[in-house]
Every structure is written in C-alpha cells, then in structure tokens.
Subunit: 248 residues, 6 copies
C-alpha cells in the first residue's frame, strides 16, 4: 500500500511541474468572469493569511466537474505566491507536509484531487478512513504561534467530501464552473484555430463543457478527417472545418 | 495506525496550549447567558468532584455544532482548576491518561472531539470500536479509593455518540449553542470592528452562527474588497463597511 | 487487542474490590421487594449448586437497565458465599477462569457486563464472535465429575444477548428493575438527606430511576446552588432544599 | 483462533465422557415413542454401514431444539457400537478425524453441535466458511475402498445449516422432538420425585419442554422454598410439593 | 488456508480414482436418453479439440442438481479419452494444472464441483474471488500454438456461477437432469432388486430423483425393517418388499 | 496475491502473441462497416498522439459484449503502429508499464479486459480498489514533456467501469458491436464453409452474435453429427449441412 502510495503521490499533491510549465507555454487562457472571480477570491485569502494576526489557518476548497480548471487555479496561485510546494507520500507524507509548513512563517499547502488522496471509489462507497481522519484533524489544527498557513483543496466529488465532513472542515468553498458559450468563445479566440465566421457556432456547440474536454475536441478536429492536418492548423495557415468539428 | 495516532493525538486530547494562549490574548469574550450557564454548571461539577466523598467519578459531555466554543469552555476550566492536563496517543494513551489521573487525589481529563478520537466517519458509519469499548469501560470504572476524577468530553456528533452508548456513559450532557443575534451583538461590541450604527445589522446577519465562523467572516470582511485593509481595522482607525461585510 | 484486553478485564469481570468496599461503607441499602426477591432467588441457586448432585452447572443472568444494581447483587453474593472470584483477560482469560473453577469442588463465576466482554456496540451491530463462541461453549460445558459451578452474568443489553443465543445458554434469567416511587422512598429514608416532609415529593420525582442515577442526582443537589453545601448535608446538619433538587 | 479452538473442541466433538458416565448413572430414561423411533433408525444406519457393500458413507443429521436429547442419542450409539470416538481441534482436527476413520474398516464420527463447530452466530449471520467448506467436502468424500463410515451430526440451528447447504450434504435428517405431556409423564415416573397424584398435573405443566429444562425445573423444585430440601426428595423420603413446583 | 486447501483439493478436482473404480464394478448403468445425449455431446467436444485446428480451447460446463451424475459423466470421459488427469491444490494448483496441460498436445481438465473450488456458500454470498478471477482468466486464455485443451466443469450451483460470469466463460453448458420415471425404471431393471411386478410402482415413486438418492433409498430398503436383509437382496435370492420400500 | 498476479497478468495486459499470430494466419476478417469505423478512429488517435504537441496523453476505451473483437482491434493497432507492448504484473507492473512508456517519445499501452485487471466480480460488487485508484491516477497523469502516450483499454463491463469513474478517465469511448446479419454474411463468405445457397440462412441465424461465438458454432457444425467431418469442410471439399448447423 505504502510503496504504491509513493508512486501515486506526486500527481495527487498539487499539479506537477510539467503541468505548470505547459500552462505557461500556452499562456494562461482567460476563461471568463466566473473563473476570474474565483481566482481573485483565492488571492485575497492568500493575502489574509499573510497579513492578519487572527487567521493563522485559512482553508479553501475548489470544487467543480472534472477538467474545469481547478488544478490550474490552485497551481497558478501557489506558483505566484510561494515557492516550494510540499508534495509527499500519503498519510505520513501529508502530516509531514503540514509540519514542514508549520516551520515557515507563511505557507500554502495544495491538496489536489482530495478524493484521489482518499482513494475514494463510488461503489460502497470506499475510501481511506485513515487519511480522512488525518485530514479532518489537520484542517482544524492551528499552526504554532506566528506561523500562518493557507490550505487549498480541489475535488470533483464534492458531495462525497461533504458526506464525510471534509467540506465543513474547510473555511470556504468555491465552485469552479464549466465553460458556458460566452466563456468558450473567449477561449476559442485565444486558440485561434477557427475562422472568425465559425467561432460563434463552435462556441455554441461547446456550451457547458469543461476546458479540458474543449482542448481534446479541438485537437481531434485539428487532425482532419484523414489525419495529418494538425500542423497546418496550429501554424495558423489553415482553420478547422466546422463541419468536421461537429463530428468529433 | 499507531504511528499515525501519535501525530493525531495532541489536538484530539484537549485544546493545545497554543489555543489556550490565543484565547487569553484576545481575552475571553462574553458569549451570552447560555454559554455562561454551561460554564458555571461545569465549574460546579469540578467543585463536586473535589469536595464530595460519594462522587469519585463525574463525567460531563459538552455537545454542540462545530465551532460553537466547546473546546474553549473545556480548556478554560481545565486551565483554571487544575494543572497538568493529560494528553497522549489513542487507546493505550487514553488508558494511560486515566491511570495517571488515578494517582493524583483530584484530576480533570478532557476528551476533546470524541468523534475524532473514535475516528468516526458518517459513511458506514465507521469508527474504532476498540477505542469506543475502551472509553465505555473507562467512563464507568471507579477510580481507586480516595482518588477523584472529573471527565469532560466534547463532541459535535452527539447523535452518533448516543447511538453507540457513549452519551449514556456520561453522568450529564450540556448542549453548547450557536450564537443568537443578541449573543452576536455582545461579541461584536467586544471586537470593536463595526461602527455603533452597523452593529445591530451585523449581529442580525450573524444569527445562529458558531463563534468560530463569526471570527472567520469578520476577518474576511476586515481585509476589504481589494485586500490590505485589515491593519487599519484592527488598529481601530477604520471600521468594516457593512455593505462589504454582507458580501462575505 | 490483547494488551488492551488486559487493561479492560478487571472491571469487566465482576465488580472490583473497591466497589465492594464502597458498598459496605454505606451499608447495603434496601432497594425494595423486587430487588429482595432476586437476591433470595440467586442465593437459592448458589445453595442448589452446593448441595444437589444433579446440577453440576447452573447459570443465571441478571439483566436490567444500566445502573439498576445488577453488579451490586452479583458482587454481594460472591462475597458472601465464596472467596476468590476469578477475573482475568478476555477469551484466554475467560477459559482460564472456568478451568480454575473446575478445580475447586464449588465455584462462582461472575461475568459482569457481558456486552462489554463481547465488545458490543449497537451500530452494525459489532461484537467479538470469538468471545461469544467461547461463552456459548463454556456456558454449556459440564464441569468434571464432583465439581460444581454457578455462573452469574449481568447485562444491560439483554435484547442483544438474546439475539446471539447467549440468553438461551443461561439456565435462568432475572430482570433487575429500576426503582419505583416506593423503592426510592425507602432508599431516601436510608440516605437521610431530605426532611421528612420532602421525601414523598422527592421519591415521586425519582420514579423509574436506576439507583445509580439517584445517587448522582442527590449528590448534585447536595452541592447547593453555589457549591460548597455538601458537607453540611452529609453531616446531617442541613437538608437538601426540594426546590433546588428539582433543578438537577 | 487456533489455540482457542483447542479449548473448544472437546465439547464440540461428541459428548464428553463425563456426560456419558452421568447418563449411565441415572440410567437411560425412556423419553417416549418418538425418541425411541429415532434411536432405532439411527441404529439401523449403523448396521447398514457395517454390512452393505454399496454404502461406504452414510451421513445422518439429528436436529431439534436445544436440550431435547440429541447429544444423548448420538453418544449412546457411539458408545454401544464402536470404541474410540475421534475428537480434536477445529478444521485440521476435523480432517484428521475423518482420515483416522478412513483407516479402520468401520467408524462412527459424531459432529456434535455443528453450529458451534462453525462458530455460528445469528447476527450477520457469521460463521466460519473455512470449516463449512471442509465439512461440505468431507461429508461427500467417499472413504477408500473397503472402509465404511457413519457420520452423525447434531444441531439446534437446522434452518441455518440448511441455508448453507449442510443439510443437503447429509443422507438423512431426523428431528428430535421436545417432550409432550405423555413423554414427560413417563420421565417423571422414572425420576420418582412426585407423588402419584401430582404426576399428571406436573407432566401437563411440562408439555413441549426439552428434557434438559425438565431436569433443571425438577432440581429447582426439589430445593424447596427455603433451600435444603433436595436430599429428602432424592432419597425418596419426601416428594416435591406440586404448588411449589408451579413457582419454578 | 493453504494447508487446508491441500486436504480439500483431491475430491474437488475430478472424481477420485476410488469413485471411478466403484463405477466400473457395478458397471456403468444406463440412465436414459437425456444422460446419453449429454454423454455423446461431450464426447464430440473431445473429438473437436483433438482434430480441429481452429478450436485450441473448448470449455464445457455440466450443471444439474446434486447427485444427478455430473461427476460420473466427467470422470468416464476423462478415463476413456485420456490418461493422467491433473488434480492439485487450489489456485496455485489450478494454474499448474492448466500449465501442465499446455505442455501436452491434447489434454482434458476436469473442474469438479466448481462451487466447492470457489469455497462458495449461499449466505452473503461468500466465495473466493481470487479463485474465481483465476478461473475467469484461465477459461479464456488460449493454449500455446499446437496445444489443445478441453475443460469440463461440473456444478450444482449454476445460478451462482452465472452471477459471477463463470458460465459465460464456458463455451457450452449442458444440464444433467434428475431421473424421471422412465429413467428410474431402466436403472431399477439393471439393479435387479425388485420383483418385476413392483418395478413400475417403485420407478413411479422415484420420479425426479437424482441417481445418488436412488441408490441411498434402495440401500436403506434392502436392509429390511429389522436390518440384516441386505445380503439376501443383493445375492438375488430375495427382493425388496415394495411396502417397506415406501417407508424409506 | 502477488504471486498469483504474476500468473494472471499476461493474458490481462493486451492480447498474447499467440493470439496475434493466430489472427494473422486466418487473415484479418472484414467484420462490417461499424468495426471498420472504430478501427479507423483508433488509428487516427494513434496519429494524433504522434504528431500533435498539445495531446501528450490520449486515452481510448473500447467496450462491447464479450467476444465481439475488442482485443483483436487493440492488438492489431498496437502491432501495426508500435513495437514492444508493455505487459507485466498487476499494480506495480501497471505503474512500471506507464513509467517505461514515459521513457520513449511515443508509446501505446493496451489495458486489455480492464475488469479482469481490477479483479471485478458482479457480486458485491467486489474489485481491487488499489488497482482502480492506480488506474485513475495514471489515466490522468501527463507524461513528461516531449513524451507522448496513447492508452487503449478494453472491457465488457462498461457499466461497472462507469460506476467507479474509470470511463470518465478515458478521453473517448467506442462501443464494439456484435455482428448483425449483414456482418455475419460477410464473415461467412470469407470462411467459405457454407454453400452459397445456405449463407443467407446461416447469417440470419447468427444475427447479434459476437464473432467469437460465431467461430465456436461454425467449428461445432464442421465436426458433423458423428464427428470427424471437420477436415473435409476446411479443405473445402465439403460444406456444412445447414440443418445440422441449426442443431448447434
Ligand atoms: N486558464 C487556463 N489557461 C490555459 N489552460 C488551462 C486553463 N485552465 C485549465 N487549463 C488546462 O485545462 C486542463 C484541465 O484543467 P485542470 O487540470 O486544472 O482541471 P481540473 O478541474 O483540475 O480537472 P480534474 O477534476 O480532472 O483534476 C489542463 O490541462 C490545463 O492545462
Ligand atoms: N468565549 C470565547 N472567547 C473568545 N474566543 C472564543 C470563545 N469561545 C470560543 N472562542 C474561539 O472560537 C473558536 C471556536 O471555538 P472552539 O474551538 O472552542 O469550538 P468547538 O465548539 O470546540 O468547535 P469544534 O466542534 O469544531 O471543535 C476558537 O478559535 C476559540 O478561540
Ligand atoms: N443495594 C444497594 N445498596 C447500596 N448501593 C447500591 C445498591 N445497589 C446498587 N448500589 C450502588 O448503585 C450503583 C449502581 O449499581 P451497579 O453498578 O450494581 O449497577 P449496574 O446495574 O451494574 O449498572 P451497569 O449496567 O451500568 O453496570 C453502584 O455504585 C452501587 O454501589
Ligand atoms: N434418554 C435420556 N435419559 C436420561 N437423560 C437424558 C436422556 N436424554 C437426554 N438426557 C439428558 O438431558 C440433557 C440434555 O440432553 P442433550 O445434551 O443430549 O440435549 P441436546 O439436544 O444435545 O441439547 P443441545 O442442543 O443444547 O446440545 C443431558 O444432560 C442428558 O444427560
Ligand atoms: N451412469 C451411472 N452408472 C452407475 N452409477 C452412476 C451413474 N451415474 C452416477 N452414478 C453414481 O451416482 C452417484 C452420484 O453421481 P455423481 O457423483 O456423478 O453425481 P453429481 O451430479 O456429481 O453430484 P454432486 O453434485 O453431489 O457432485 C455416484 O455415486 C455415482 O457412482
Ligand atoms: N477481424 C477479425 N478477423 C479475424 N478474427 C477475429 C477478428 N476479430 C476478432 N476475431 C477473433 O474473434 C475472437 C474474439 O475476439 P476478441 O478476443 O478480440 O474479442 P473480445 O471482444 O476481446 O472478447 P472478450 O470481451 O471476451 O475479451 C478471437 O479469437 C479473435 O481471433
Ligand atoms: Mg485537477
Ligand atoms: Mg473543539
Ligand atoms: Mg454493572
Ligand atoms: Mg447437544
Ligand atoms: Mg459431483
Ligand atoms: Mg478481449
């Protein structure tokens, strides 16, 4: 169990550095006003932890459907406000992450995909009660005097986390939404793979889609019907044919 | 399991010393007549254990919603009436805590967040029957002749504790309430972060809120819309804008 | 599990010697005709085991609500009719207790709080099937020729014991009742903490109460409203004020 | 588990020798025509195993309420038809019992209280599937050529055994009944503790009672109201007063 | 678990050699047209595995009520078409059986009483998922090129096997029936223990009976009412009295 | 568990090389337009992984009834587009397979029969949560920069995989269908074992049949009623008699 935990733990604790770099390469795409709002709110919490004497521990849960950008928000913030994110093996590792954090005057801990940390599966349901108990205690334990910690969690199984009392253990919860037509249009503009005439139709078709799925669909469409069309699209010399796009 | 218990046990057994100091720094805030009543009653039980020959063991359960001040009541009493609170690792530790207590003529044992001691989770439900059996025996076992013990437990899962017979094992149970408008007004007065004109409106908005959540909301509001406003508020030079307060 | 059993086993097997001494100090209080009847019946069973050639094994279960005096009856009998009650660690210990008993010509084994021996908890329900199987075999196994054993069990979870076939394994079962008004009046007379005028009213208020709870309520009332009143009450110089008694 | 099995196994496998001797001391009492019938039938099966070439394995289950004489029938037969009954520790022991039996040309194996062998408890229900699988295979496995085995099982949990397929694994099943008035009258005559006038009334009161319970009730009644009356009754100098008998 | 498996595995994997010899001694009895059909079909499958290049793996499940002759069909075929049937300890053994089979150009594997291999019990239901997973993989794994395997399974718990997907894993399933009146008449003729006049009546009474039960009933009847009659019957000098036969 | 995993893992991870060779021997048979479509789509995904910079991880699930050709599609692609398919022991092995894949610039991982990898059984249901958690993390973890991976999974238990969130973890899912009359006719033409007149009737009878079952039925029919007919059929000198075909 433990050896296996070692292998799983990197992607489970915060987005990997690969992921961060990749985000930066494409630039951070503007996903619309609701993502913006959550981003700002989370920044304010980081500020509050830094300056306030009365909030040594602030905990914040980002929840929303799979692929809607929760990890990206969490990763960006952690990258912008603090260096040296703690990631380690399950339980013992989680405790260690918190105890390391208690040593710096100011830390951010990112618990990415908490349901995966808990080894949650809907049937049963089953999950690690050992880890859930550890989290429940850690999310309530005040850091030592003069130390301040912001904990950001992400999950796409908010109903489950709620049923085991983990949502209550967070100070605040924000819901990261899927893209709506307007948001999708913004994103497509930035990707620049459709002709101006097709963007509205494409955005309409992408309503209520998580951003991750949007990227997948666009990639598939860029291949073209017979494959091999991607390079021309991404170099900007061609655009995706909207009719082919609908097939994907 | 056991190694992990070592890490969890400090916050589980009574409030940590940090927490106590913090309480003292802000002064103990007056939370209204119902908190007062419970506080007095619990003091009388401590007295009864000390003087009476016929009550060598008195056990008292403080229950109420999360963040309503149960641990604060328990911690204050233990600090005021007796020195050297016993805190240790799960089961074996719990037994040790009781056996140490049997050695002094008069002891108070605080079992903070009993549901956490029991590793309780609502799904299943699951919990440690080993620990629950240990508690059921210890809460009934009379101390040796001439030794007297007061056990104070806290929980926010009273329905669960009842279903496994732990409530019945306590001599008395008191319910620590959430703050009502009147209580919230008292607390806000003492915090002095609202202008006199806004206190009534703010207190109204905080009706039926646990005190912990009240502190969180006030802190967030003190940040201001753009962050950076907290210092001015806490120094007393500015007050929280009530309209911004409603957004938090 | 086993180490833990060592700690639990003393209170689980028969009342501790402390408890016995305590009973003697206050004198054994007369709890009314129904307690009397059970006490006599249980004495007759002890007699039957001693004299009869055809009953080498008699088993008797005392059941009733928590705190109604089951352990006190069991302890008194064992103290009056036989010396050297066997108490030891769970399962292995239970077997040892029986095997030691098979060595004396005449023994009494007290299984106090059988549900605790079984580590019973209502949720599930969970319990140790290993111990229940051991008890089921031991309660049926005839002692060697010429050896006679009386087994007295107590429980406040008779419905559970019944459902796993342990009640059927006992030869007879007696129900120890709560105190009714008349019984409570007798007890209060003997405690002598109320004025003669108040005893009837107090007894009325204590109807259907286990004797243990009666003691607790009287102790709390004896403290007085502000604490410190107990000594005067127990020395007999003052009586409990009936109005304050109702508040407890 | 295994050490514990060692302690349990003696009473579980066939009636102990003590029990057999005891039966002989009192003489085998005549329990009426239905017990007689079962006794004869079981004798015939033993005969069939002995003489027939085509029935190398015959298995027979005696089932009926607790205390109705199942173990006594099984014990008597084994004592009358064959010496050296095999009794040993659970599973491994059970296999050994069968393998030892395969070595003699003719053996009887008694599986007394099969539900106890299986560690059965009604809640769940729980039981040892390891042992049940072992029994299911052994009850079907033909002994080596030229070896013949009769297996007699007893149980008071026939519905459970049926539900796990063990009843089907036996060739035949006989139900050992409780005593009816007529049977009880016969038994009481043989015990000779009532005056002739009272026997009918006593037998009536004992209708539908297992013989074990009958013995217990008679023993209790023989004590008399104040104890000490048993010797006079059993010596024959006095009879049990029928009115006192009704109280037991 | 594993040691125990060693003891169970012989009867679980294919009929034991004793059983085979016994069958031959009495001669293989003709059980009617439906048994005949299944026997022929199974022979054809063995042929198909042997000659066809495109069916390197054929799997066939014989299912039917307990005692209806499934193991006898399986055993006969294996004895007639191939020597050296593989039988070994559970899981590891099962894998070994298959891997040994992969070494010969042509093998038959008999999985007798698959529900027993799986340690199946109806309550729960419980069974070994480890073994069921192993079987599911093995029943689908093609033997190496040029090797051919016929797997014949038997079970009396076809509904259970179906629910865990094992039936689907077999290429074909045949249902071995109980004897009907006509079949029973054929069998009785061959046994020659009834007078010609009684055979029809006896066969009628044996309608819908598994052949194993038929043998048991005939054996019991052959004993006669007082025992000792079997030799005369089997020597042919006497016949079973039909009236006594009805009592069995 | 682990030792056993070693034995199971080969057939569980991708079709064995035997299977591949066998496919080639018979030639890949044309199964109709729907199989064709899935085959092409899957080829395009392989292309997309190879050329696109933005899709370093593409995951594709082939689901459909048992025997409908899922493993054949997966095996063919992997054989055509890449050498060195990774297959190893459960969990640890699965992780290793992925980590090896991260080392080549371009890899295909085939997870054949995912329900078998998960040790799924419908009763309970039971399955390895350890493996399911491992897959859930691996199917989401991006390969290191510059490395590209296509994961193809197959399953015949798509509803189960969906209920534990594994379907969602795949980028796309394609349903491999059973053969319909038209598809069966195409296949029978290629097999050339029926006379032209019978093919339509035979194809009709094979409607909605998985291809694997079609092969089995044809093989059985080719044997002929008395066995021994297969060689003549496959050499082409005779055809299967349609009337005999209907009996199989
Ligand atoms: N603002 C953004 N700009 C560019 N790319 C983004 C942005 N937000 C998300 N993405 C990309 O979308 C994909 C999905 O985002 P992310 O992994 O954060 O989703 P998630 O909500 O964490 O999903 P899951 O619940 O599956 O973990 C990522 O590959 C990420 O790089
Ligand atoms: N009377 C008081 N004066 C000042 N601060 C208080 C007072 N009561 C409670 N608090 C503060 O409120 C917060 C919550 O109180 P506490 O931890 O006692 O709640 P709780 O009921 O134990 O909650 P939980 O069920 O989550 O453990 C603490 O930070 C504590 O410092
Ligand atoms: N007859 C009596 N005289 C004096 N004190 C008594 C008497 N009976 C019981 N008590 C006291 O009452 C208290 C409860 O009695 P006891 O422990 O026997 O109850 P119980 O039925 O065993 O309860 P539980 O089910 O909780 O074990 C004990 O402290 C005991 O000393
Ligand atoms: N025919 C008999 N003659 C004399 N005593 C008998 C007779 N049958 C039974 N007994 C006595 O009755 C008692 C109960 O019988 P036994 O132990 O055989 O019952 P049982 O059916 O096995 O009960 P259980 O289900 O509890 O094991 C025993 O003490 C035995 O000695
Ligand atoms: N054709 C036959 N001729 C002679 N004896 C037979 C024949 N078929 C079965 N028997 C006998 O009938 C008995 C039961 O048959 P068998 O053990 O094959 O049944 P089964 O279906 O395997 O039963 P189970 O499900 O209990 O394993 C055996 O003792 C066997 O010897
Ligand atoms: N296009 C094809 N041409 C020739 N043979 C094929 C073709 N497709 C499948 N088969 C054959 O059909 C059989 C079943 O196919 P396959 O094993 O791929 O099915 P599956 O869907 O993986 O079934 P399962 O769910 O049982 O694993 C195999 O023996 C394979 O060789
Ligand atoms: Mg994420
Ligand atoms: Mg608390
Ligand atoms: Mg008690
Ligand atoms: Mg018995
Ligand atoms: Mg069989
Ligand atoms: Mg497949």
């Amino acid at each position: 169990d433990f050896l296996n935990a070692l292998n799983e733990v990197r992607p489970a604790f915060g987005a990997s550095t690969n992921d961060l770099e990749r985000c930066r390469l494409n630039g951070v795409v503007d996903c619309g006003v609701r993502h913006e709002h959550i981003y700002k709110r989370t920044m304010l919490l980081a500020e509050q932890v830094r300056v306030s004497k009365g909030s040594p521990l602030v905990t914040c849960l980002l929840e929303g459907p799979s692929g809607c950008g929760k990890s990206a928000i969490a990763a960006t913030i952690s990258a912008e406000t603090m260096i040296g994110l703690n990631e380690s093996t399950k339980c013992a590792q989680i405790v260690k992450v918190f105890e390391d954090a208690y040593r710096s005057p100011l830390s951010i801990i990112i618990l990415d995909d908490i349901e995966r940390l808990l080894e949650y599966v809907a049937i049963g349901p089953r999950f690690s009660n050992l880890i859930s108990q550890t989290l429940l205690v850690l999310l309530k334990r005040l850091p030592p005097k003069g130390k301040n910690v912001l904990v950001i969690g992400t999950t796409s199984e908010v109903a489950f986390l709620d049923s085991i009392g983990i949502c209550d253990a967070f100070s605040v919860t924000y819901t990261v939404p899927k893209l709506q037509t307007e948001d999708a249009r913004k994103v497509l503009h930035q990707l620049n793979v459709f002709s101006e005439d097709d963007i509205d139709a494409a955005a309409e078709a992408l309503n209520e889609m998580p951003i991750k799925k949007l990227y997948m669909v666009v990639e598939m469409a860029a291949q073209g019907e017979q494959g091999g069309g991607a390079e021309a699209i991404y170099s900007g010399s061609e655009k995706i044919r909207i009719s082919h796009f609908y097939d994907c």
